[in-house]
Structures are given as C-alpha cells and as structure tokens.
Amino acid sequence: MVRPICIASLWLLAAAPVSASGPGVSDRHPVYVGVKVCTQCHAGKAAGHQFSLWRASPHAKGYASLWSPEAKKIAELSGIKEEPQEAAACLGCHATAFDTEAWEKEDTFHLEDGIGCETCHGPGSEYIDLAVMSENPMEHGLIMPDKRLCMICHNVKGSHVAILASPVFDYEKALATIAHPATNGARMTPTPLPSANSKTASPGKFKYTGVMACAACHKGPMMGHQFSKWRMGKHARAYAVLGTSAGYEIAAKEGVKGDPQESAKCLKCHSTGAGHAAADFTDGFDVGDGVSCEACHGPGSEYSLEAIMRDPRAAREAGLQEVNRQTCMPCHENAHGANFDYATAMEIIAHPTQVDPNTKPSAHMRYKTPLNMALSPDGRELYVACEASDTVIVVDVTSRLKVAEIETGGQPTDVAFNPDGSRVYVTNRLDDTLVVIDTKTRARLRTIPVGDEPHGVLTDQAGKLIYVLNTSADSISVINATTLKEEKRLTASRGPWSLSMSPDGKLIAATNTLSRFVPFRTPSMSEVTIIDTERAVVENRIVVPAANLVQGVDWHTGGTFALITLNRTKNLVPMTRLLQGWTITNGIGVIWRDGRVDQVLLDEPDMCFPDAADVAVSPNGKYAFVTSSGSDRVAVVDVDKLISMLEAATPYEREHVFPNHVGKPTEFVVKHIRTKDSPRGVLFSRDGTTAYVANALDDSITVIDVGKLEAVDRIDLGGPKEITKVRYGERLFHSADITFRRQFSCHSCHPDGHVDGITYDIEPDGIGISPVDNRTLRGILDTAPFKWEGTNPSLQRQCGPRLAVFFTRIDPFTPEELSALDNYICTIPRPPNRYRPVGAELTPAQRRGKLVYERMMTNDGRIIPVDNRCVTCHPPPYYTDRSRRDIGTKMMLDRESKFDVPHLNNIYDSAPYLHNGIAETLEEIWTRFNPYDQHGVTNDMTKDQLNDLIEYLKTL
C-alpha cells in the first residue's frame, strides 16, 4: 500500500530546503515544508493517527473558514477591506506562515491547509530529518507550544465575540480537543499515508492530480469559494475520520479488521482514486484529502488546464465527469445504515462556479463624506472631493444641483482646478495618487503616483506646476502639469495638510497638521511652510508656537497675510484643568508675509469652537469664514476688526495674552452660522456673495448668503438617507457635544482616527504624573487591552466610563451612543502599508531585518531568552501578544513600570514612540532607551543590523 515514488520525491523536497536560502540570506534558514511532509511520519496507527486527528479538527479548516459570511462580517467590523482569505490580519491566525516569502516555503506547503503542524511547531525543514527528530529536534527549531503561544491567536477578540458570540476560550478544554499524542510514545518512522491504489491495476488514461491543483483556480469569491466549501465539508475529512475511534468502531461493524485507513473496503468510499494503479497519481496527490474533487469529477491531469476547462466539450473529452446521482449513490446508498437523500446532500455540498451571493461584499451604505471643494475659474461648477464614495461630485452652482459624479480612486481628499479650468486635479489619500480629470468630458485622463497619503493640491498661478502635499510622507510633490511627471519633492514639516497661494502668485503657504518633534514635555511647535513659486523651493518655515493641528489656510486678498486654523492643546497640564476650559483651545493664526505670527482663539467662555477645520477669506477681504467640524458651525470673522485689534495691542499681548484669551473673539467674530454635520472645507463664490461649506457627515453642502450671513440652502450630494450605526458613531466621534463646554471631540486628539502626535497627561491626579503618547485608532479592534497601562479591556470601557471620568465631566454617552461609537472606532481602517505593498517581496534590507526580528542568538552566539526576543512580545498578525511588559522605560513621572505591548502595524506612521512618546524615531527606541537590553537584546547589534531591523519593522 505504499507509493514509493511519491515518498521518495517528498523526502527529496523535504531535504532540499535545509540549505535553501533567500537572496541575501545566510544558509540554513528554516523553511516551511507543509503538512504533507509531516504526514510521512505522523500518520497511521503507529503514530496515533496524528494527521487524521488534525485533519478532523477546526485547525485544518482555519483557512477555509474564512470564506464564510461571518468571517466577512468580522473583517468589515474590524475595518479590513480585503477578502478575509487575503487579509494578513485574518491569515495570521487562520493559516500557517502567512507572513513568509515564497522562498521560505517548499512546494509541498499549502496555505490552504490552514493551521498546520508548523504553525505551532515551527518551520520544519531543519528538524524533520528522522535522526534529528529522534535526538535533538528542539535544537533545530522544533517548538512544543505552550499556552502563551496558543493565546497569541486565541486571546479574546472583540470582533469575533461580536459576530460569533463565541464563548471564552478554555485552554485546557481546547488542548483536549486537539490532543494528538503518538501511540505509547512510539518512535516515529517514515510510514507514509497508505494509499488506495492497487498494485495490480493497469495505469489509466488520466492521472489524479490532487485537490491543491484544483484549488489553484477554484478558490476565492469569484469562484464561489469552491475549495473552502469542500474543505469545510465532510468529504474533506472522509479519510481522516477513518483514523478516529468512531472510524474504528464503524469499520469494525462493517467487518473490517485493523486500521480502516488500510482497508480497501473503507478507502473505496473514504478516499479518491481507490483501486487505481500507483502510476495514476501525480506527486501532488494526497490520499489524506479524502473524497476530493477528482473523486466525483474524475482524474484531472488532462482537463485541469484552464484553456480546456473553459471548453466544456474539450474538458469532457479530457476526462471531466459529469456528476449525477449515479456518481454519489455507489458510496452513499445505505452507507452504514444511514438514509441518503440525494437532493438534500447536493444542497449541502453545493459549490457552484459563480459568486455566491452570501459571499458578496455586503451592500453597506456608501456615504459621500465631502471634505474639500474647488470652484471652477468661471464660477459655474463646484467640484467636491468625497472621501467615502471615492468620487468627485460636480455641483452646478446656479441650480445648486449635483450634475455629475466621477470615480477618482481611493479616498479623494482635495481638489483643484488648473487656471483655465480645463482640468481638475484630485488627490487620492488611500491610493497615493493624483488624478487628472478633463472637465469637459468628466473623464479621468491620468493617474500619477505621488507620496504617501496626499492631501492638499494646488497649481501655481500659471498652471505649470502642481503642488501636492504628501501628508504621511512629510513632503510636497512638485509635478510638471505638462508632462504630468513629478519633478521634485520638497521637504515639509509633519503632516502637510492644506495650501493656499498668495494673490500675487509668488508664495504658497502650506499648513502642517502635526507639530514638529519637540523635547519631552515641552509645548508643540507647528509650522507653516512657505514655498517660493518662482523657483519651486521652500523659502521659509514659519513656526507657530504651542499650536497643533494647523490645517486650513487661505491668503487674505490684500496679500500681506494668510489665515490658518489651529488648535492650542494644553497637553502639558493635567486634564483636571478641563473644568477651567483649558484642555484644547481652538482658533486661528495670522501668518504675516514677513514671517511674524499672531494667534487668537475662537473659543468663548461658555461655548468653544472645537476642531477649526478650514478657513476662507471673502474676495473683498472683509470676512473670514472658519468651520468648526466639532460644533457644526461657521464663525464669521470680521478681518478688519481682527487686524485692528492686533495692531492696537502690545507685542506682549500679541505673544502672550491673545493666543489664550477666550474673551477676545467677541471683538472680531460677528456671527456663528449653523451648518450640517461636521463641516470641513469652505470657500466663497467668485463674486463673494455666496459661501459653500462641505458637511462631511451629512453628505451635503451648506449654502451661505454672505450678505445676510445666513445659511440659505442645503445641496444634497446624494448620499444614503439612512444613518447606519457606524455612521452615527462617526458623527459622535467628530462631535464635541459630549465634552464640557464642547471643547473637543474624539477627532481633536485622533484626527482621521489616527494621532495628533503629542503626549498627554490624562490622569486625574492633577500633578502631571504618567504622561502618555497618543495612540492611533486605526485597526485596533482586536488589540485589547487599551491604554498604555493596559487597564481598559475593551473599547466600550475606554470610551464609556473612562471618557466620562477624564474627559467629559458630564453625562457619559448613552449605551446606544457608546455602542455606535465603538462600532465606528472598530471600523477605522488601517491604510495599506507603504513599505510593503500587498504581495510584494521583501527588499534585501527588509529580509535581513526579518532575520534580526526573529533571531534567537546574539551576534556572539549567546542564546537570547525567549522573553527578550522581538517576536515573542510582538508576534504576528498584530505584532502584539497583548500583554504588559516592563522594558525598562519607566521614568520618574510614571507610576507603573509595565506597559501595554503596542501593536506594530504601520508603526512607521505613528511617531513618536514608547509609552511616553520620548523616542522620536524608531532608532531611538534602541539607541537611547534600551541601555540594558530590557526591550529586546539589541546592544550587540551593529548599526547596519539595526537599520535592517527598522526597515523590516516598517513593513509590518
């Protein structure tokens, strides 16, 4: 019953990887060999049917189970946009070696095998040799998993609890479920899976290729997840069940003596190709796959080519069999005394080659979320960048109606016309692109790659150069408008956001939403970057002291100054000051052409102006309209009054009093105009009679009559009328209604669900103990506990009682509100990793860095304790073991020494680092703040090794 050819080839394959190495990687890096190679010893009665026990377990269905509608819902709830079977976050716990490159896996390895042996026991190439296995396998990488390892994946996940209502994981019970002891501890020998082939049968015309050959095409949503459906079904376990006690019992009743897996009678219906000659099976075939595709559809060697499969007649001639009642009945009719209903059975195993409606992406609401606008040079059309719908909506200004909607790409954020109005440029923040649209045809002409997360866009006065602010790359792409190629990239500060050109066209002012890095526990220092348009270079970097979230900007028509929006976050004082209206203040700044800066607040004693988002100056220079996305209002600033007030003041007042004076706005804010939810972009019509405000969370434009200073119309951009729970949560997130005197919203500290880059003292002690770095909310659902001290087990806890205690000081969110907010926060997606696009191989430096990340020995050969290896505390897929650890970073101001192990996904995008934000760069974590090797053993590393490690970290 042994297939010597297959076995020989498998061992050859298994032996090969021992010396396999990827480019630039030293020899003897362990590689994954796959379940089939393990099976060579760990199957059959002598091995306690270990393979069969695994195959019958949920682990073997780990990958396949991701096809289910529930999996899709979990992914959606977690802000995962991809198919679960392609998402790293899902595959990390539902498959083996998801994060490895092709060279780290042998041909015998299949991701589709789900959670295989090597998930728990480590890549097998170095220890599968019989001699090694018998003597010292642990020294060659064999891992005997413990609770810690299991809990990396089995720790409670909010997303799974919410959708599956799964019970709390019981480790002991789970161990019993998957127990697969070798019989009496018997010494393993290569006793491959018995086969159903016949020594006497003559070779047939067609060969059995095995289920993985079929799975190469017949998986994924476009093929109705056929492979996964089979793998989840009983057919896939047909062989494995023969090795279970139940299998033995039934076999005995059928008169089979001994191991059912060696019984031709059992194998006839519990395997594929039973009775065929050994030559009828290719190396890829695995009897362990039970009743697989070819059991019903016939051996596939000749018809499995795509070209043949697409031609039904050719496929039939090549051996593809039509499945009907006669196919099933020989095995199922009266099998083991059970009734068999053909029609019902066919429903159960149905796997049509078409998109299963259950697996289609749910038809969730597609809101518009308008952010920024641009008015055509002739003033007739308004182009609105709509982040959620991936479109630009065109509004006819006269009729105030939406007249077109143009697909742009992922998360369009800003929009600008060229001077003659023939083209529109749109930044796609998700795709890192700039799209060029022909305004006549409304067609996309070109898509140009730019830097990470492009936000603001503008052309120079002549329209020759396009400036794009790369928010996540801290740079400005300068693109030739004729060739549409990037000519150069200028350096911005942190998070360049919006830009505006001076009336004479000589300067462009670009805001930066994040403060520069500042020394520990010192005030923010933001920057407005001034570009000389003649030479397209940075001319000046104007510092806006103690400000952050500097976002909106518009030049005054007089050309002597520009206005910006800003926050003045008092992050250095404890949050107890909240009651005194002193946590986050909001206002505007005056950026004078000569580099001077004035700051004034728009907050008033009893009513703040949370999240000043954008500013526009009327064409006659009389008014500046400022949007408050946190309070759904526009502040009307009388510019003359503002400037007069400043000019009449002493330098001391301008520098030290006005920036914090909540009594001053009444001297220059002449009115507040109500808008719809979360107003962001604002602009005036060419004649200055009308202003338009983009209501991001209402999918509308508010039209303001500038003469009357009143909102006179609402332009509907056509978003869904229904407000989903997530959308409701999004509104709550962006609203300051809950906070004392409406000082700030969740968005104030977590703009766009991310970070504001500064450190807070949130605790109520009032003495500045335990300052902590702000952390991103992107993709955090399953990374509990929360807070740096790890004291909040859930988002509900984080946003509910904690919020009430520390932030709001008034009524907390209602349960309904809290649930909606929690839902929204869960779904804040993590942007695609910019350092390793999906499917891309690692660069040589990243590959070397991965070895450092996973290393077990120091450069001088000392074993690194398990608890002091990178991968121990930061295991995939989230790169956190969700524990609290003391890594030696406790400082005088800290009350705890153990801190939550942060996840590392997109870690490059959330500086500063460590619990108190004291490390400005990833390098500093180890060069400055790990003197005693408590945060991983790193002090033996050379500088190039550290560089490699960081290159790898940036890919996670």
Partner: protein, 441 residues
C-alpha cells in the same frame, strides 16, 4: 572700466610670461627637457624640442585677482573646511558654524549652535540642485539639512547614519551620501531608508571614508586605506581602485594606479576621476592612471587635503603648502599659488612638469597656505584655508592654454561680455581689486 583695465593688465602679464618662457634662462635646469606625460611618447628628440618650443609659447590662465574673507568680515570661524557655491550664495562650513555669503550684497549670515545649527563643526556641504536644500556633514555631529531656515538633524542615535564623524556629503538623485569615519551612509530622502556601506558589503578594507562625490551615475568614495571606491548607481555594483604598490609611499611602478590607498579626496568630472592622497595625487581617464608628485610638478606638496576637478584637463589640489592647479593635463602645465603673509603678498608659479616657465608676484592670494577645500564658481574659485576663505576671481578666465593671439582674443571677448553684462545689470558690484599684478621681471 576697472574690469577692462584689469583684463588689459592681465594681457600684459601673460605676454610677458610668454616672452619669459621663451628664454633659455627661464626654462632653467635640465628639468626643462621633460615632456608632458601621455603625449606622443614615441616622438624623436627633434620633435620633442619642437614641441617644447611650441608649448612654451602657450600659457595657462593665472588668477591674479584675489580677495579674502575672515572672521573680520563676518565669518564665524577662520578654519574653513567646506565651501559650496549655489546660486547667489557661497555656503561656508567652518570649525564653529555655518556661513552664507551673498555674492551680490557681500552680506555674510552665520549660524552657530545657538542659532539652531545642530553641531559646531561643519566639515562638508552639498546642495540639492532641485530643492535648494543644503546638506551639511557635521564633523562629530552627523548630518543636517538646512531648508527654509530650519535645520533637521540626523545622527547615529536618531537615524540610520553609521557614524557622526562625517567628512563628506554628496547628493545623488534622491539620496544623500555621507562619508563617515565608520563607513559610508546613504539616505533616501523619499523612502527614509538608510543604507550602510562598510567592509561587509563593499570592497572597503578600511572604513574611514574621507570624501565622497557624485557625477554621471557614479558615486566615488575616497577612503583612508581603501583607495577610491566607485559605486555604479544603476547597477548597484562596486569597483575599487587600489594602489598596486600596496602601502608604499612612492609610486614603485609608474602610473599603475592610485598613488596611495590613503585617499583624502575624490572628484569626478568629464568622465575623469581626480584623486588626492597624502603622498601625491592622481588622474584616471577610464583607461590610464597618471600620478603627480610635488618634486616633479607644480603640486606644492604631496600632502593633499582635497581635490576638485574642473574638467578632464584641469584640477585644483588643496595641500598643506599651497594650492596646486593642474591647468592643462595634456601639457602637464601647472600654476602654483602660495602666499607670504609676513610680506602680505602672494606668488603664482607657472610650471610645465618640473620646469618653471613663469613666476608672477601677486598681492595676497590664499588667506593661508594650508588649503583645505576648493570650490568652482563659474570662472571663479573659492578656497577654504586654515585662516580664512579665499576668492580667486577669474575675469577673462580661459581653460587650458592659450597662445598670444588666442589670449588677446579671449580677453577682448571677455571684456565685451563683461561690459555688456555690466550695462545690463548696473547693480552688479565690481570685484574688489586687492591685488596689483606685477611682472616677475
């Protein structure tokens, strides 16, 4: 006009030089028989004599008009380690600060540590040609970028820079190369990736990098103990140029490679590599090396701190005993500049090989004979020394050699051009004429 008068005086000087060179006395010793290497080695003796006579009638341009800048003029320090000209500005790296000299207004603006400069010693400067960003190699302080009035700082603790002792800096596309005492670093300003080149991944037996330059897709590193290393940017490959004589401080087998593996500076221009060492200098045209030593050329000293190639034919060498200018490689014609500070005057010696063919006494030219850096600025040059910044004004400059007629024509052309320029831009300030020229006779 002053400039026209200046050029006419120069014309007179050079004519006098030609006459001087034509006399047997001026040809001097037996050294005058030497023919420039590399030119027609198979010529007969009569041919050689004819060639010598012809060459003697050709003269290089001699910088006779100089000005000096020191702390008295506003520089932060007189130890000038690096000079970079970009647009209207001359950026000057000193032992205690960075200075920017506005060529039009003569205004000097300084930055010291208290002004935000991250480290006091600025040892190297390069400017990104597209963004105007000034990159500084800080001797002991890492790397800095000056943009829009703000300094950004990278060092070995907060970045992937291999070492803080930075000797050289060069811009290559979006990359910034830093030559450091522990290897070379390359920083990609777009991706943020740092690469380190040491003995692990480059033919760098020693890792003490003294200098770096980039041109035409090639990065050259001058390495203390590893000669010159060439990095092909497109291919990502290395090539080394080592001294075949090992570490001998003489050129045992003539022109077989670089002079010595202790390389102090590199410069690549017109597909020609110029290399400096503490034991002489060399030139490589892609096929042949040619080395030069003080005892047989116009090189003031073998101890060379830096080199800057102006073309395939001309290179300036910063030595501890003055400035050596190989004005025309083909004829081995040199001009050697030195100053006598006690006498407050300077000297320019024209030499063909080891043969002196003319000497010009000038007023002070180099601020000091210990020369550390050379930077070209069109026809001008800026010289960093241990006691200030020198400015060699190249009015009527011509490359290589000119005979009597050509010089006259060149000077006439230059005068016409300059007059036209002055007429167009009346605000252009006349260079300070601080050196009276005198015929050595």
């Amino acid at each position: 006009m002053a400039s026209s008068a200046y050029c006419r005086r120069l014309e007179a000087v050079l004519f006098a030089g030609l006459l001087l060179a034509a006399t047997p006395a001026a040809r001097g010793s037996e050294k005058s028989e030497k023919v420039a290497a590399g030119d027609s080695p198979a010529q007969s003796v009569p041919d050689k004599q004819k060639q010598i006579a012809t060459e003697a009638s050709n003269m290089p341009f001699v910088y006779t008009k100089w000005e000096q800048f020191t702390t008295k003029d506003g520089l932060p320090n007189d130890h000038i380690f690096a000079v970079k000209v970009f647009g209207d500005y001359v950026w000057v790296g000193t032992e205690d600060g960075l200075a920017r000299l506005n060529k039009k207004t003569r205004e000097i603006k300084c930055w010291r540590e208290e002004d935000g400069l991250p480290w006091r010693v600025v040892g190297a400067i390069d400017v990104h040609p597209k963004t105007d960003e000034v990159w500084l190699g800080l001797f002991g302080g890492g790397l800095a970028r000056f943009s829009g009035g703000r300094f950004d700082h990278w060092h070995q603790l907060n970045s992937g820079l291999v070492n803080d002792v930075v000797y050289g800096v060069a811009i290559e596309h979006d990359n910034v190369w830093a030559a450091t005492t522990a290897g070379a670093s390359r920083y990609n300003t777009v991706t943020g990736e740092w690469s380190i080149f040491t003995e692990k991944n480059a033919p760098m037996e020693e890792i003490w990098n003294y200098g770096v330059c980039y041109a035409d897709g090639l990065v050259y590193l001058g390495v203390w103990g590893s000669g010159v290393l060439e990095y092909n940017v497109e291919r990502g490959t290395w090539k080394d140029y080592l001294d075949p004589d090992g570490e001998m401080e003489i050129d045992l087998y003539r022109d077989d490679g670089i002079m010595h593996v202790i390389t102090t500076g590199v410069s690549y221009v017109d597909q020609t590599l110029w290399a400096a060492s503490y034991f002489g200098v060399g030139r490589y045209d892609g096929r042949h090396w040619r080395c030069f030593f003080a005892h047989e050329s116009g090189l003031p000293s073998d101890f060379t701190n830096a080199v800057k190639g102006r073309s395939a034919h001309e290179a300036w060498f910063a030595t501890d005993k003055g400035l050596g200018v190989l004005a025309d490689f083909g004829t081995d014609t040199w001009v050697t500049y030195t100053s006598d500070h006690d006498a407050h005057k300077g000297k320019a010696v024209v030499q063909r090989g080891e043969k002196i063919i003319a000497e010009f006494e000038t007023m002070l030219n180099l601020p000091h004979n210990y020369v550390l850096w050379v930077e070209f600025d069109g026809d001008d040059a800026w010289i960093g020394t241990s006691k200030g910044l020198g400015h060699a004004i190249g009015e009527c400059y011509f490359p290589r050699l000119r005979n009597e007629k050509q010089i006259a024509q060149a000077i006439r052309d230059a005068i016409i051009f300059r007059d036209a320029t002055l007429h167009r831009d009346a605000t252009v300030r006349e260079p300070v004429a601080n050196a009276e020229m005198q015929n050595s006779e």
